[in-house]
């Protein structure tokens, strides 16, 4: 193996690792705030990529309907509750907050001709995609996780598995069994010494770094970020301070959906994505998150990059055993974690 191969593999591993790192951050965030091991994280990746692909093909993505239907369900439930308690003033906010964006996007996309939709500027298409997929996070939290927010983490995990299966099935209905690739952000490549960096690779590295920086600022400097951190540290304490755990849950799932959809949009020009591609990508992010003990953001991100590099190098040396090597990594990490960290039994009711 010469230096060039070493560098090429490293670059490939970093690119994938950057995506895994984003997903690992989302997983840590959701787990810290809601105690849900958020398996459906990968589905947001697939939904993001495939929604963008559908828009670029001039088709109305099925995810819009999902957002609208979930929005209606939330409006019916929350609206019903508001009516029952006679709190009519909240109604407009409930309707607008849950159904507004999906309906506007549905009108916008179905109003456009197929050619006009396909010919939209790429940033606009990406915005549309994010606008469709991101609301799914809070809506799903409201419908699926909020009613059982106080359940044990095992129950939450089982529900997350069920949600993962449901979303995969819906993905097949929306997008079909075949894969899609989207247009790259910009064509061409950059030459640095022996390395040929595709522009898309640079986009991925840049966007991941930027997103991590934004998340850092969000958590350190904004009220919402601090509220999320407070909830993660101590739910009861945060509630006593007037922080709504429901709001925190919705916000964390919204962020997770945003990170997932953006990752999907970033990788889809590099590789073909399928309705069920997200799971494996999410799982590798999960290995990274485990390395971080589902608690530490920097360690999780580094762990995810490590997963990406390991994957890349093992695909060169022993391609048949690549997945085995990557997922076996979790065993020594768990052993080391359980030996070094002080274990606290979760309180069960």
């Amino acid at each position: 193996m010469d230096l060039q191969i070493l560098l090429l593999l490293g670059q490939d591993g970093l690119t994938n690792g950057a995506i895994y790192a984003l997903l690992a951050l989302a997983l840590v965030l959701v787990f810290a705030v809601t105690r849900v091991i958020f398996l459906p994280q990968g589905e947001f990746v697939a939904y993001g990529a495939l929604t963008l692909a559908a828009i670029q093909a001039g088709k109305l993505p099925g995810t819009v309907w999902l957002a609208v239907i979930l929005g209606i369900a939330v409006v019916l439930i929350d609206g019903g509750l508001a009516l029952k308690s006679g709190n009519l003033k909240r109604l407009p906010r409930i309707v607008l907050g849950n159904l507004g964006l999906p309906l506007v996007l549905l009108g916008l996309i179905s109003g456009l001709e197929a050619e006009a939709l396909a010919a939209l500027a790429l940033p606009l298409q990406i915005l549309l995609t994010l606008g469709i997929v991101v609301p799914l996070g809070p809506l799903l939290y409201r419908l699926v996780f909020q009613p059982i927010a106080e359940a044990s983490s095992l129950v939450l995990l089982i529900v997350a598995v069920a949600l993962h299966m449901t979303l995969i099935g819906l993905g097949l209905v929306f997008f079909g069994a075949e894969g899609f690739r989207t247009q790259p952000f910009s064509d061409g490549a950059l030459e640095i010494g022996p390395l040929l960096l595709q522009h898309q690779t640079l986009w991925i590295l840049f966007a991941s770094a930027a997103l991590i920086a934004v998340l850092y600022v969000l958590f350190e400097r904004t009220v919402y970020g601090k509220a999320l951190r407070a909830t993660a540290l101590n739910r009861t304490g945060a509630r006593l301070m007037g922080i709504s755990t429901t709001m925190a849950g919705k916000l964390s799932l919204g962020l997770a959906a945003f990170i997932g959809a953006l990752s999907g949009v970033l990788v889809s020009p590099m590789t073909t994505l399928y309705y069920d591609s997200g799971f494996l990508i999410g799982l590798k992010g999960f290995v990274g998150a485990i390395i971080g003990g589902l608690a530490s953001y920097p360690v999780a991100a580094l762990g995810a990059v490590l997963v990406g590099l390991l994957e890349s190098y093992s695909s060169f040396y022993a391609s048949a055993f690549k997945e085995v090597i990557v997922f076996t990594l979790i065993i020594p990490v768990l052993v080391w974690r359980s030996l070094t960290s002080h274990h606290v039994e979760e309180e069960e009711e």
Binding site: L9, D12, E178, S319, K322
Partner: protein, 384 residues
């Protein structure tokens, strides 16, 4: 006997009477992978079943289609249900080799003929008491592998690198290909594998490039086969790239775009039916199916997998008249007669080739069932 047990005893009888249609109908059970990882095979197959004739030799034919979600356990459940509840005379299924193998035992137990649409030869070989009841409408992988090796020898390819799925499809192809290539003195310089869902094959590609092969064979099915070819081109590989017939659908061209230009692959003749010379014996029967399918689903929508389902129907329709002479549908005798009639199919033109079944060969295709094509300007171009 209490009233409850009486009802329990009578209920199946009553529903059974209601479920069994007039004795004249022929019931065909279909189990295919309409969802799950092999959905891109199962969906066109399902569409093609819908195009099959509903009356053959004056008898009504009912098709009962079930989805096995690319899961062999579900496939077994399906065939049990089809046989015990729907009293089917024949089973078509499934799309994949593992599911077909699993269904086989149930078919044999109930002496029901079965036509599989899967690719691997092990579904019908080696012939034994079990496979006595099993037929296969899709070409064996070996048919296709010989076409590739033949093309390679004709074009002075001496060393080949293989990259394929890390599953039965990729492994099966490697085994078939290696066997034939070795006999023709073609050296295999690398054998790499990757997963259907992988987002990168850079490592494998670099290793292949380091081995400097004359050609690369990608042993993958459907759109995931684009990734190795795209990466090879990106890294500057200039040699020939061969694909397998598993990629022969419009989605491969759509996803691959200009990255898969120049790919060489063997396909069933129906994929290029219109380009076939007029004296090709398969042209007429292939065009018949292509026109029917594209008439419903639009131009360019055909895939070889749909053709396998259609060909299963061709075998069935051809066998029904002979079987009807011997017994009534719904009986054990009819199923046996149907099996014998399918085994007796001679010079039967279908979408993918000409069936010539023998007691030893339950696939029945010969070299007329494949042609080599090249991807040119986003379409399949027949290599003369």
């Amino acid at each position: 006997m209490s009233r409850k047990t009486l009802i329990a005893a009578l209920l199946p009888l009553a529903t059974g009477l209601a479920a069994v249609p007039a004795w004249a109908d022929i019931n065909v059970g279909v189990s295919l992978a309409a969802t799950g990882p092999a959905a891109s095979l199962g969906i066109p197959e399902k569409n093609s079943i819908a195009l099959l004739p509903t009356t053959v030799a004056g008898q009504k034919v009912n098709y009962i289609v079930l989805d096995d979600a690319t899961d062999s356990t579900t496939a077994v459940k399906n065939i049990k249900k089809l046989i015990s509840e729907n009293k089917v005379d024949l089973v078509i299924g499934s799309s994949t080799t593992p599911s077909s193998l699993a269904m086989m035992d149930v078919a044999v137990e109930n002496e029901t003929p079965m036509i599989s649409m899967a690719g691997s030869a092990i579904v019908v070989e080696p012939m034994d008491a079990k496979r006595h009841w099993v037929f296969k409408s899709a070409q064996n992988d070996a048919h296709m592998a010989t076409a590739i090796v033949e093309h390679m020898t004709n074009n002075n390819v001496h060393s080949v690198a293989f990259i394929g799925f890390a599953d039965a499809y990729g492994q099966g192809w490697f085994k078939e290909f290696a066997k034939i290539a070795e006999a023709r003195k073609i050296k295999i310089v690398a054998n790499e594998s990757y997963q259907r869902n992988d987002t990168s094959v850079t490592g494998q590609t670099l290793k292949i490039l380091a081995a400097k092969p004359d050609a690369v064979l990608v042993g993958a099915a459907g759109t995931p086969a684009v990734l190795p070819q795209k990466t090879l081109k990106e890294k500057g590989y200039k040699g020939a790239i061969y694909q397998t017939h598993g990629v022969a659908n419009a989605d491969f061209l759509r996803v691959g775009g200009k990255d898969v230009e120049g790919a060489l692959l063997p396909v069933g003749p129906m994929m290029v039916a219109e380009q076939l010379p007029n004296d090709n014996p398969v042209k007429k029967s292939a065009l018949e199916y292509v026109k029917k399918y594209e008439g419903v689903h639009g131009k360019g929508s055909i895939s070889s997998f749909g053709g396998h389902a259609w060909d299963a129907g061709v075998l069935l329709s051809n066998a029904i008249p002979a079987a009807l002479k011997k017994a009534q549908p719904g009986t054990k005798e009819f199923r046996k007669a149907l099996r014998d009639a399918i085994e007796g199919s001679k010079n039967l033109p279908a979408a993918h080739g000409i069936f010539n079944m023998t007691p030893q060969d339950h696939q029945g295709f010969d070299q007329r069932a494949r042609v080599m094509v090249k991807v040119e300007n986003g379409t399949w171009k027949l290599i003369k």
